[in-house]
């Protein structure tokens, strides 16, 4: 791993617009040095998830330090779990985060931009479960 490699982030949503908008927001807050790749919607642009989109997003997000995958709801989680269970098909390490979508994406992006390793980025994303807005 090069010293400059940042953990990459993949945002998996049922909606392409939600994944892209969240990636844009997290990139603005986190300063733009992290590869945040949206994987939203089905292959034909509808609402749903696509294993092919997630697989290529993981490849695009990986710069050598691993990839954090953040799903929105339900079958996004299942799609990622099925992919992670395929041995040898993905770069290592790839981890699935159990975190709120927007807050988790923002927290993970800032941690990755600060140079945290995959464990640190996962911890930042999952700490977002406890963040209060008010």
């Amino acid at each position: 791993m090069s010293e400059d490699a940042r953990v990459g982030i993949v945002l998996v949503s049922h909606s392409s617009a939600l994944a892209e908008g969240t990636a844009e927001l997290a990139g603005q807050i986190g300063g733009g040095s992290v590869h945040i790749v949206p994987a939203g919607g089905t292959d034909d642009g509808g609402i749903g998830t696509s294993a092919a989109k997630v697989r290529s997003a993981i490849a695009a997000a990986n710069t050598g330090a691993g990839v954090l995958v953040l799903p929105d709801l339900g079958s996004s989680v299942l799609t990622v779990r099925v992919l992670l269970a395929e041995p040898g098909k993905l770069p290592e390490p790839v981890v699935l985060a159990d975190a709120p979508f927007v807050e988790g994406a923002v927290a993970a992006t800032v941690a990755a931009a600060a140079g945290a390793d995959i464990k640190g980025v996962l911890a930042a994303a999952e700490e977002a479960r406890h963040a209060r807005k008010l």
Binding site: G30, V106, A124
Partner: protein
């Protein structure tokens, strides 16, 4: 005995999402522990969501405290970012 440092600033504008991100990122670059306090609430400056949830709005006094080998540099950097909070920040 670790070095410790503290300074305060009154915000000229609200601490919006992007400056909160810059602040957390800058804080994470220091070895020292860095805390931000507004009123009776104190949070880890390296946690962007905590910084956003602090309620650091126009006219509030923010106290920056750091403890560690680069405490005074950390406080100076964070105060610098807070000083750039303006009434039209985004």
């Amino acid at each position: 005995m670790p070095e410790s440092s503290e300074a305060a600033i009154t915000l000229a504008g609200d601490l919006h999402a992007r400056p909160a991100g810059s602040l957390a990122l800058a804080a994470a670059g220091f070895a020292s522990a860095v805390q931000l306090a507004v009123g009776g609430t104190s949070v880890d400056a390296k946690s962007v969501l905590s910084v956003m949830g602090l309620g650091a709005t126009t006219g509030k006094q923010v106290v920056v405290r750091a403890t560690g080998p680069d405490a005074s540099e950390a406080v100076a950097a964070i105060i610098g970012i807070l000083a750039r909070a303006t009434p039209v920040g985004g």
